[in-house]
């Protein structure tokens, strides 16, 4: 079906808009994600819009497919990865994206998520993490911080939160990244990277919900604080951050610590050099757990990328192999197998 010639006309962001009125609240971080996706997809080489499908669950974020000018499936709560898995296996020629929220993916949908990671289904999952249940009007979510006061936790929640990147890595996801709604360029880069990854790609986007959880990420997004609180991961580069890149991260044993690069005792060479292609998951895991300690900056970027055969690929290959060996199936043979007898 693939006919690249059809696509000589360059697609634009507009081609990726369905034209339907967007119904998120004013100021919602979801707008930014939509804009970056619509801007980024047209630049993907050989992209055929009709081969792109957006699948989602339920939540504010899960309205996403309606706004995309591609095929879309607004599923049921938590099941987007499972619907997308079936679609991708049935139709490996399609590019299947999942738009989902922290409740949708990590609460009710947790099982499908970890299994999709494990199986390396070739899906691109974007988690709109606003650390709240938006659509149901403000209950704490599995990523809400402990102690959070919400409608269902009037005295503060007693839940420890999930660390989404940790969970993804614990499930052996082959591509794990994080970005922030207020960093459009970085986000665009992550989307591009995910699109290019063959295998399951997971992007966590920190997304502000101005209505029910306004400002949770403000330390990471406000001009005067963000440089001190965000470290941008770049492959092959030392991990440094701060307004003047004056702070670095090094490891003491398994414990990442901050080094003051203004202090002549320290050198940038002590700093951890980011390597997203590390075969092992350990480095990614260390990065994922930087957020455990309040003193450490939050990493954004690609935590880990590893190329290995995808599930859908392997299934097609197995079918091809068996078919090559046995020949294409014949119904005649299938029905009239051995152990038949004739009544005359």
């Amino acid at each position: 079906m693939s006919n690249t010639e059809i696509n000589v006309e360059k697609l634009t962001a507009k081609d990726f808009s369905s034209g339907i009125d967007v119904r998120w609240c004013p100021g919602c971080g979801d707008y930014s994600i939509l804009a970056q996706v619509q801007r980024t997809l047209p630049n993907i080489e050989n992209i055929e819009k009709e081969k792109v499908v957006w699948v989602s669950g339920i939540g504010c974020s899960s309205r996403f497919p309606y706004y995309m000018g591609t095929y879309g499936f607004h599923g049921i709560h938590g099941r987007a990865p499972a619907i997308a898995t079936g679609l991708k296996i049935a139709r490996p020629d399609l590019t299947v994206w999942v738009a989902t929220g922290d409740g949708d993916l990590l609460s009710i949908g947790g099982n499908h998520f970890i299994h999709a990671c494990r199986k390396n289904i070739d899906l691109k999952i974007i988690l709109f993490n606003n650390q709240i249940y938006g659509l149901t009007k403000g209950q704490y979510s599995p990523t809400s911080e402990k102690g959070k006061v919400t409608k269902t936790s009037p005295y503060g929640s007693v839940d420890y939160p999930f660390n989404a990147t940790s969970l993804a890595l614990g499930s052996n996801a082959s591509f794990v990244a994080r970005t922030i709604d207020r960093e459009p360029k970085h986000m665009a880069e992550m989307i591009d990277r995910a699109a290019a990854h063959k295998g399951l790609a997971f992007i966590e986007v920190y997304q502000n919900c101005p209505i029910f959880n306004d400002g949770t990420f403000s330390e990471l997004t406000e001009k005067d604080t963000k440089e001190d609180n965000v470290v941008i991961l770049e492959h092959g580069k030392p991990m440094v951050f701060g307004k003047n890149k004056e702070k670095g991260i090094k490891l003491e044993g398994f414990h990442p610590v901050i080094v003051d690069l203004n202090d002549p005792k320290n050198s940038i060479d002590d700093c951890l050099v980011h390597n997203e292609k590390d075969d092992s998951l350990i480095r990614g895991f260390i990065l994922a757990h930087l957020t455990d300690s309040p003193d450490m900056p939050t990493p954004i970027g690609v935590f880990r990328q590893r190329i290995k055969p995808t599930y859908d690929e392997a299934m097609v290959e197995q079918i091809d192999q068996v078919t090559k060996k046995k020949g294409k199936g014949s119904l005649e043979k299938l029905l009239f197998t051995q152990n038949t007898w004739e009544v005359k």
Binding site: Y66, G72, F73, H74, I89, A90, W341
Partner: protein, 616 residues
């Protein structure tokens, strides 16, 4: 077989045999082999495997007993038989557990070696029944099967344990001799199965032949039986179980529709076989996805349906319960999807290896909102093939989820199947929508089906989902009147299917006083009961529902014709509820919920009862 001993060769019409032994004794295998061979010699047959929920409970215990019942005949038969004529019991527990159901004066073949103190105790026997006279009235053949098997395998290299495992083949050989069946099909099977283990080929064949020869040599059997081939409809036959027939039906349906087949499923007894069969057919391009749970099973199938595959999901009761929310999504998105539910004993985990018909109401109503799906049910093991195709046809033609109900009895039971010529099975016309002009995702054809426009089709990019859809455009709509319209349309679409399903057929007496109706796996038992009562002079007719939602067009007309309508069900009256509320017609119910198929005799008695008692 050159034999001097005088053996009476007796022609009989039908026999019911039950093999019983420990879960580890290979009784299911023995039963299946006997069935396959019996099929090949041309008898009609019907089988009923019955095994415990435990994989292999400790040897010798009562709850570890596994059974396989087989009814075969020189004429048309429809059930695995109410009471066995013959019981093959490999140990005391097997005897104990099955004796009460054996025919009075029936034949018992026991492995006398196993009647030692330990096994007697495990079977909760106070004294040895082979010795204490408690079996008087039966024809008991106590044969030291273990000893004889060891003897036959003396010069093989096997360990004692391995030798002991061959004893079911000895028993099988003996039964082959007794009922005059050839050993070749089983020998062929052994050779294929143990291709890479020649020592097992040798041993099993030796045991089989030893059993056969033992029959020949021993003086104990005075009679040997012949059951002539049944006069079945001409054709090529094979013995088939319901689960295999279901699997084959879907492969055929997909090919006939020109689609790829996708199965998203999670293993569960007694439905796992279908997944297992289909995972073999890679050369047909069949994709089987063993999902993380039942919800992912159906959700993946919904995704595959959106992608343009013939998508199915298979499960049993508790799994169907888990699929309800997603089934509603398929209803709202109007995607073709077949959900196979192999019913088992409930509620909850219930009786996982037993049969029941108690998921009909769940299938009909077990979803939030007004959420209609089509429901069809297979009547016999081989009918699962037809109904899998029918279910697929309805799903694809009407763009709707369809639930196909089978049950544990149909799934594991088997019967000879007159294999249809591949060309005789009609195509299922499917056309993906490709025209860009005037495309609306929820426009409808004359069948009320919406167009199937699959991803990859240029210009038809659209979005579906679980929120209420605007009629025609398919946009999300919260409009009250649109909602009402759509609620009615969804039900109407199911009712439209009436146009393409066959009328309810009535068999039996034209002037019947009683119509016995049923659905699903009770067909055979009802049919035999009807035959028997008619033979006794009662005026009886039968009609069987294979299409339940919607009902065939002529349903009310048929039901109103008879003075009595009797409905036996293996539940507390589920179809009866549906019929009564739909037609306000009184229905006599006959409900037995024992995890087992109906006994023909019980239905017979009930028919006579309804008709006012014996006419003799």
């Amino acid at each position: 077989m050159s034999e001097v001993r005088e053996i009476q060769e007796k022609h009989i019409d039908e026999v019911t045999v039950r093999f019983a032994g420990d879960s580890g004794d290979g009784m299911q295998l023995t039963g299946t082999q006997f069935s396959d061979t019996t099929a090949v010699v041309g008898n009609d047959l019907s089988t009923l495997p019955d095994y415990p929920a435990e994989i292999r409970a400790p040897a010798g215990t009562l709850y570890g007993v596994s059974g396989f019942q087989l009814h075969f005949s020189s004429s048309d038969i429809h059930t695995p038989g109410d009471v066995p004529d013959v019981l093959v019991a490999m140990n005391p527990a097997a005897l104990k557990k099955n004796l009460s159901e054996l025919k009075r004066s029936g034949l018992i073949i026991v492995n006398s070696d196993s009647f030692d103190k330990k096994n007697l105790k495990l079977a909760e026997y106070e004294s040895n029944p082979l010795e204490d006279g408690s079996l008087s009235g039966f024809d008991v053949m106590d044969i030291p099967i273990t000893t004889l098997t060891y003897a036959a395998l003396e010069d093989t290299e096997l360990s004692q344990k391995e030798k002991s495992r061959c004893k079911n083949f000895f028993a099988l050989g003996l039964m082959y001799w007794l009922y005059n069946r050839p050993m070749e099909p089983t020998i062929d099977w052994i050779e294929k199965k143990f291709k890479n283990k020649p020592q097992f080929i040798d041993a099993n064949e030796k045991a089989l032949k030893a059993g056969y020869n033992f029959g020949d040599i021993t003086e104990r059997f005075a009679t040997r039986y012949t059951i002539e081939p049944a006069k079945l409809k001409p054709g090529i036959y094979r013995n088939i179980s319901g689960n295999e027939a279901t699997a084959l039906g879907f492969v055929v349906a997909a090919e006939k529709a020109g689609l790829n087949l996708f199965l998203g499923s999670y293993p569960i007894t007694p439905a796992s076989d279908i997944l297992q069969y289909l995972s073999n057919y890679k050369e047909f391009g069949v994709k089987t996805f063993q999902a993380e749970d039942e919800i992912a099973g159906i959700a993946s199938a919904i995704g595959a349906a959106f992608g343009g595959n013939l998508a199915i999901t298979t499960t049993s009761g508790p799994g169907l319960a888990l699929k309800t929310e997603a089934t509603g999504l398929a209803v709202m998105t109007e995607l073709p999807l077949v959900i196979v539910n192999v019913q088992r004993g409930g509620p909850s985990t219930g009786l996982p290896t037993k049969t029941e018909q108690a998921d009909l109401l769940q299938s009909m109503y077990g979803r939030n909102g007004e959420s209609p799906v089509a429901i069809v049910a297979a009547a016999t093991p081989s009918d699962c093939f037809n109904m899998a195709i029918e279910a697929s046809r309805l799903a694809l033609t009407y763009m709707s989820p369809v639930i196909l109900l089978t049950d544990g009895y149909l799934a594991n039971g088997s019967e000879p199947w007159n294999i249809p010529a591949v060309d005789s099975i009609p195509e299922i016309p499917v056309k993906f929508h490709t025209e860009v002009e005037n495309y609306h995702s929820y426009s409808r054809d004359e069948k009320l089906a919406r167009p199937w426009a699959i991803p990859g089709t240029k210009g038809l990019e659209h979005r579906i989902g679980g929120l209420e859809k605007a009629n025609i455009t398919g946009d999300v709509s919260y409009d009250p009147d649109n909602h009402f319209e759509m609620v009615k349309l969804r039900e109407e679409k199911i009712q439209k299917m009436k146009d393409s399903i066959p009328d309810l057929e009535v068999e039996g007496d034209k002037d019947a006083e009683i119509l016995v109706i049923g659905w699903g796996g009770t067909y055979g038992a009802i049919k035999e009961a009807v035959i028997h009562t008619r033979k006794k002079g009662y005026k009886v007719a039968q009609a069987h529902f294979k299409f339940i939602h919607p009902f065939p067009k002529n349903t009310e007309e048929v039901l109103r014709k008879y003075k009595h309508v009797l409905l036996p069900e293996i539940n507390l009256g589920q179809l009866a509820k549906v019929l009564k509320s739909e037609f306000l017609i009184p229905i006599e119910q006959f409900n037995v919920v024992r995890g087992l198929p109906f006994r023909v005799g019980d239905i017979e008695n009930k028919i006579i009862d309804v008709l006012g008692g014996s006419n003799e």
